[in-house]
């Protein structure tokens, strides 16, 4: 046996070396240590968040405390994760829409648009709005006159999907809230950028606009519900 190992000692050394590289690359000694000294629940919450990202910690706390015999409606405002329902879902229960859990609830729900050539674009994602409340122009000057159509849209293979279209004929002051009150769910999209086009403004006028903000209406407004449990911006409401 010893002879056999001696004969292939070079290959064996390479194997050991490669194994150690693999262990080192994936930090496996540290992970092994963590598994021994940190329990599963803590590790899970570290990965999925208590009241951020999936907010699994908050959800599991609620399930433990309130012993749900239904599946509450879970709305997560964090766009980098899908619905967090998976973490407390019971396949034997039905969804009770009266009980809602709002995770990562933003106080201000808005879309920020930056200039891009002759249009403005926003990469922000909105998923739970039911319309546009107002529009705010951040200007370089104190005011600007706009006599133009304003189009808010998204693109699919160069085709415009119009969300809102309106005529503006007024002088607009810097950071003035101009009410729109337009009810639409088309504003919600997880993946696509949104564009604003003010077609009849010339390049000089466009250059005077720093950015545009759309303030949106919440689909689930906290004012409409009774808060049962709260932690930071995670809410259990009814």
């Amino acid at each position: 046996m010893a002879k056999k190992f001696k004969k292939h000692s070079g290959l064996l050394l390479i194997i050991v070396f490669l194994l150690l590289i693999f262990i080192y690359n994936h930090n496996l000694f540290r992970k092994f240590y963590n598994i021994i000294f940190t329990n599963y629940e803590t590790r899970l919450i570290e990965k999925h968040g208590y009241c951020y990202d999936d907010s699994v910690g908050f959800l599991r706390m609620l399930k433990k405390k309130y012993k749900f015999n239904f599946n509450p409606l879970i709305i997560n405002y964090e766009d980098s994760v899908p619905n967090s329902g998976w973490s407390i879902y019971d396949t034997y229960n039905k969804i009770d829409k009266n009980h809602k859990i709002l995770l990562n609830y933003p106080k201000k729900y808005l879309l920020n648009f930056k200039p891009l050539d002759n249009i403005f674009y926003s990469k922000d994602n909105i998923m739970h709005s039911n319309g546009i409340e107002n529009i705010v122009f951040n200007l370089k000057n104190t005011n600007i006159r706009i006599d133009s159509d304003i189009k808010i849209y998204r693109k699919t293979l160069n085709k415009k999907d119009i969300i809102y279209e309106g005529n503006f004929h007024k002088i607009i002051n810097n950071n003035q809230k101009i009410p729109i009150q337009f009810i639409t769910k088309k504003i919600n999209s997880r993946y696509k950028a949104t564009f604003i086009e003010i077609s009849e403004l010339n390049a000089d006028q466009l250059a005077k606009i720093n950015s545009i903000t759309l303030n949106l209406n919440h689909e689930f407004d906290l004012k409409d519900f009774t808060i049962i449990e709260k932690f930071n911006n995670c809410y259990y409401v009814k």
Binding site: H8, L11, F32, I35, Y40, P82, T91, L157
Partner: protein
Amino acid sequence: MSEIISIFSQILFILFIISFPVIILNNNSKSKFCEFSLIDKLCINLIFLINVLFFASILNINSKYILYLYLFLIIFLYFFNFKKINFKNIKINYYFLILLLFIILISIDIAHELYFAWDTKSFWFFKTLNFYQNQKFENLKNFPISDWPHLGAYIWSFFWKFPFSGYEYFGRITYAFIYVLSIFSIVEIVKVHIYQKIILAILFISLTYNYEFFSGLQDILIFSFILIASKFTYYFFEKRYKTKLLELTFILLGIANILCWIKNEGLFFIFFLIFCILIIKNLDLKTKKLLITGSLTIFLIKIFILNYYEIFNSDHFIGSLDFKIFNLFEKMKIISLYLSIYLTQVPIYLITLPILIYTSFKYKMKDITKFNLFFLILNLLFIYVAFLFKSSETELQVRFSLKRVLFETSGFYFLAIVIFINNYLHSFNQKIFSSFKKKH
């Protein structure tokens, strides 16, 4: 510490379960299945077990009965064979030990990382929960995209529930087991010393391992089973296995059934593989008939089950297609762009494709090389066709899923490395032999 012990026990449990039927029937049977290597036998048992689990899932048989039956048969056969086992003849299989070591290492990574991928949170975990909580197959209708296959989720739920019903990641350790087994399986056919095989296996794992693939996604299962299928199709081209064509055909059909119930594209990949064998390899009529009727049966069973349980959502399917010709050119451009980017991001392609091209020109074109090239063409065609006719969101679809689709089949191209090494060694040996002849 108890969690670490549970992880070890889980691995031993999986090993125990997949020792049936071929390994423990070894001493009693004259079946040709018993002539395969230990790794092959483990693969065959795995394919058998997953097919059993598949039928249990669609027939709504409680998985605990499957476990009891398995335990009863295994324990009975172990006792029955106990006297026949010659303990003095038992040798340490280092290849197998390294395989186990890697399963342990990856299991530790899975147990630590714990996070789920997007699709896992949205779809796969709900399917797993459905079976973990002993719901019936038809209950899948209540979850999003019910017509996506369920078998990967069923395997996850089975090993999550048994033997400890502990943490969900115990089920995903099975994925690690299948993955490592598939890598060691393909490396086994390289005609080099066992230590060199181990080195190659470690390199393959280092090249492909990423926790992301074990975050509940099913792509790693497709990758692994395609790898196992590639190994057994390689046997179709080997003279040594000429007498085992029937067994190989059954194994391939077993894998085909698994793949088509893990992800929809799995069905296409395995049928491409079978199609390539039928075209390239001169098989006897009986094997050809078996392969064709077997493939058709698997396909028809799938259609029948989806319709019987009314799980297939035809509106969703039709809605996801778009046959407008004026968009095709635009879509082709998008697909080609992302394809060229992602081909460079999946390192296996960067290594295997040049090797495949080099081997085809450098050495005499063998059937197995033709087979490899033919599969590559079908694979690329599939990618174009699948994404060309997707509805409006082509760019999003391509951006998010093309890399995964490429990864799924990438394992198959390990065959290129195997062919290259075996060809190189063959010509090297011939040179030595001819120079030896000249001297004498």
